[in-house]
Amino acid sequence: MQNNLFQDQKFRGILYQTLVVGFFALGLYFVINTTAYNLEKRNIATGFGFLNNPAGFDISFSPFLDFKSTDTHLKVYFVGVLNTLLVSFCGCIAATILGFIVGIIRLSSNWLLSRIAYIYVEFTRNTPLLLQIILWYAILIQLPRIKQAPQIWETFYISNRGLFGPKPIFLDGSNIVILSLVLGFIISFFIARWAKKRQDTTGQQFPTFTTNLSIIVFLPLVVFFIMGSPITLEYPVLKGFNFKGGAVIRPEFIAMFLALSIYTAAFISETVRSGILSVTKGQREASGALGLKKNWIMRLIIIPQALRVIVPPLTSQYLNLTKNSSLGIAVGYADLVHGFGGISLNQTGQAIECMAITMATYLLISLTISFFMNIYNRSIQFKEK
C-alpha cells in the first residue's frame, strides 16, 4: 500500500511541498529565536520607535528638504529616498540620451566614429562601476580650489567643492508663472493629440513641434513680464573661503551622475544598436522608395519599430541604474543606503529594521519602475488588427 502511495505523483508532490514548508517554518522559527536572544543579549531595542529619535548628524546634500542634525531618523530616510530618486532620475535621462546617440553612432557609416563609439562601449562596460565612480570623484576633487575656481560669465564657478551657479528666488506671483508653464504643457498635449487625429483622418500635417515649443516658452515668458519679473536669480559671491548665496551641485552628486549615466549609456547603446539592426533592411528600402528623407526614415520608420525591441532591456537598465545608485556610499553621496542604511544603522544599532526598510524601499522603487515601463511597453507594441 505504502509503495503504491509513493509512486503516486500527486502524493509525492504534496509530500515534497509539505516538507519544504516544514523546513522553512522550522528554519524561520530557529532564526527568530536566536535573533531575539542575540538582540536581548546585546541590549538592542526592537521596533520602529527609533525613527522618531533625533539623528544627531548632518547631511551635506539635501536639495529638497532642509535637514538639521536635530531632525529625526525618519527624515534621514526621506532625504535618502529623495537623493536616490534624484540621481537615478537624472542618470536615467542622461543615460538614455547618451545611449541612443552612441548606439546610432556605432551604426554610422563613418568607420572612425563607429570605432570610437565601440572603444567607449567596451571600456566602460568592462571596468567596474564602483571604480568609475571613485575615479570621477578623484578627478572632480582635483579641480582648482574655490579661490582659484575658473568661472563662466561670472555666473558659474567650477571648483573642487562643486559647481556653483545662480539660484532662482521665487517672489510673490511666481506661482502664476509656474502655473502658466504647466498650462503650456497641458495645452500642447491637447494640440498634439488634435494634430495627430487630424493627420490620421485627413492627412494634413500640422507643425506640432514648433507650435508647442513656442507655447511652452512664450506663455510663461509673457506672464513673467506681466507679473513684473517675480523670479530673480541670486548669484554666488566669493566671500572669504567659500561662496555666499547661489546654488551648488556637490562633487559627490556630479561624480555619481556622470559615472552612472556614462556606464549605463554603454549598455543602453548596445540595446539600441541591436534594436535598430532588428528592423529588416526592406523597411528602410521601402521607405526610401516612398521618397522619405533620411532622418525621416530613422524617425518615422526605424525607431518606432526598433523601440519594441529596445524597451524591455531598457527597463532592466533603468532598474540597474537605480540599484547601482546605492554605490553613492563610496563617495559619500547621502542616498538611502549611505544615510539611512549606513549612518542611521550605525548610530542606532537597529540593523534589522534599517536593512528591512532599505530593502523594502528598493523593492518598491523597482516594482514602480517596471510597472510604468510595462505600461509604456504595451503602448508601443505592435497592435495586430
Binding site: 535573533t35 566614429l113 571596468t127 571604480l131 536593512m355 523597482s366
Partner: protein
C-alpha cells in the same frame, strides 16, 4: 568565357577599390562625414600622444627623472619637480605589486596561491576547449577544484592556516569571482528548475527568492551578510568575514543565473520533455540527461555575461572593508607615503579588470557565434 573573349575586361574605377576607395566609402562619403573624420583625427592626434607620453614616455617606473630609485611619493618626478613635464609614477604599483596580487599573504607561503592560479587554468581548460584530450577526467578535476583551492589557500591537511584577513588584492577578487560563480551555477540551476516546477509551493518560494534578490542592490545584501547574519546565527558560530560576503555574493549571483537558465529552459521545445517522459525517464533523469544539457548550452553566452557582471561587482566588498584589488589600491592611496597618486592606481586597477572581463566577453561572443552556426547546421 569564350564569348566574352573579344571584350576588353575593364577594371573597376579606382575610387571604389583599394585603400583609397575604402577611405572614400568609410571616411569621406560626404562633406559631413569628412568633417567629422577630420575632427576625430584632430582629437585623436591631441589625445593619443598625450596619453602615451603620460603613461610611458614621461612616466617613472623604477627610477625618477634624476635616476634615483623611487621608494615613496616624494621621489616621484611629478611630485619632486611639479614645474617639470612629467607623467605617471608607476612606482606605486611596482613597489606594492605583491600587495596588489596577494594582499598580506605570507610571502613564504605564496607558492600556494600561485599553484592555485595554475590549477585554476587547468580546471578551466576542459570548459574552454571542447576537444581537449582526456576531457572527461579533467572535468572531474574541475568539479573538485573549489575544494582543492580552498585547502591550498586557507590551509589544513598539513598546510599552515592563513586566515582570510591576510588575503587581499587580486586574490580576493578572484576568490569571490570564481567561488561565487562556481557555487551560484548549480544553485541557479536548482532555482530555475524550482521556478518552473509544477509544484505551486516550490515555484512560489523560488520566484519570491529570485525576485527579491533581483529587486535589491547588491550592497544591501552585503550589509545583510555583514550586520544581520551574525544576529541570525547562534552564539559561538562566528562566520568568517570573507565567507559572509561570499554567501551574499553567491545568493545574488544565483538569482541572476537562475533567470538566465530559465530563459534557456523556456527555449527547449515541449516535444523534448514529452519524448523524455515517454521513454520513462524520471523528473531528475529527464532534466539531467535531456533538458539541462540543451538549456545550458543555449544559455552559456548569457551565463558568461552575468559572470562578467559579478566579477565587476566584487569591487563592492571594499565598502564593507574587504581589501580586494581596488581596496588595496585605496589603501595605498590612504597611506601617507603614496598619497595623491590616485590616477595611476585607478588606471592600473581598471586595466586589470579590463583584461579579465574583456577576455571573458570575447569568449562569450565566440561561443555565441559557434552556437549560432551549430543551430543553423542542425536546421539544415
Amino acid at each position: 568565357m569564350e564569348n566574352n573573349s573579344n571584350f576588353e575586361t575593364r577594371k573597376p574605377p579606382v575610387a571604389t577599390t583599394g585603400i583609397l576607395g575604402w577611405c572614400r566609402q568609410h571616411l569621406f562619403s560626404n562633406w559631413i562625414n569628412s568633417f567629422i573624420t577630420l575632427l576625430v583625427i584632430y582629437f585623436l592626434y591631441q589625445l593619443i600622444p598625450w596619453f602615451l607620453d603620460w603613461s610611458v614616455f614621461s612616466a617613472d617606473f623604477w627610477t625618477n627623472y634624476k635616476g634615483e630609485l623611487i621608494v615613496d611619493r616624494t621621489f616621484c618626478s611629478r611630485v619632486a619637480d611639479p614645474e617639470g613635464d612629467h607623467g605617471a609614477c608607476w612606482a606605486i604599483i611596482i613597489v606594492r605589486f605583491y600587495q596588489f596580487m596577494y594582499g598580506f599573504y605570507p610571502s613564504e607561503q605564496v607558492w600556494r596561491v600561485n599553484l592555485t592560479y595554475f590549477l585554476l587554468v587547468v580546471a578551466l581548460l576542459p570548459l574552454l576547449i571542447e576537444k581537449i584530450p582526456g576531457r572527461k577526467h579533467l572535468i572531474k578535476f574541475t568539479i573538485a577544484f573549489p575544494i582543492v583551492a580552498f585547502i591550498l589557500l586557507y590551509g589544513g591537511f598539513g598546510f599552515q592556516i592563513i586566515p582570510t584577513n591576510k588575503w587581499g588584492g587580486l586574490l580576493v577578487t578572484l576568490v569571490l569571482g570564481v567561488f561565487g560563480i562556481a557555487i551560484a551555477f548549480p544553485l541557479g540551476i536548482l532555482l530555475a528548475l524550482g521556478r518552473r516546477s509544477q509544484l505551486p509551493v516550490i515555484s512560489m518560494f523560488c520566484t519570491l527568492f529570485i525576485e527579491f534578490i533581483r529587486g535589491v542592490p547588491l550592497i544591501t545584501l552585503l550589509f545583510f551578510g555583514m550586520v544581520m547574519l551574525p544576529l541570525f546565527l547562534p552564539e559561538g558560530l562566528n562566520l568568517d568575514g570573507l565567507v559572509r560576503v561570499l554567501v551574499a555574493v553567491t545568493l545574488f549571483q544565483a538569482a541572476y543565473m537562475a533567470e538566465v537558465i530559465r530563459g534557456g529552459l523556456q527555449a527547449i521545445p515541449r516535444g523534448q520533455y514529452e519524448a523524455a517522459q515517454s521513454v520513462g525517464l524520471s523528473y531528475w533523469q529527464m532534466n539531467r540527461k535531456i533538458i539541462l544539457p540543451q538549456a545550458i548550452r543555449i544559455s552559456i553566452p548569457s551565463i558568461v555575461n552575468t559572470s562578467i557582471g559579478l566579477f565587476k561587482d566584487t569591487t563592492l566588498v571594499i565598502i564593507i572593508g574587504l581589501l580586494d584589488l581596488l581596496g588595496i589600491g585605496r589603501g595605498a592611496l590612504a597611506d601617507a607615503t603614496w598619497m595623491g597618486l590616485s590616477n595611476e592606481v585607478y588606471v592600473f586597477v581598471a586595466l586589470v579588470f579590463f583584461i579579465f572581463t574583456f577576455s571573458m566577453s570575447r569568449y562569450s561572443l565566440y561561443l555565441e557565434k559557434k552556437l549560432k552556426t551549430g543551430i543553423n547546421m542542425g536546421a539544415d
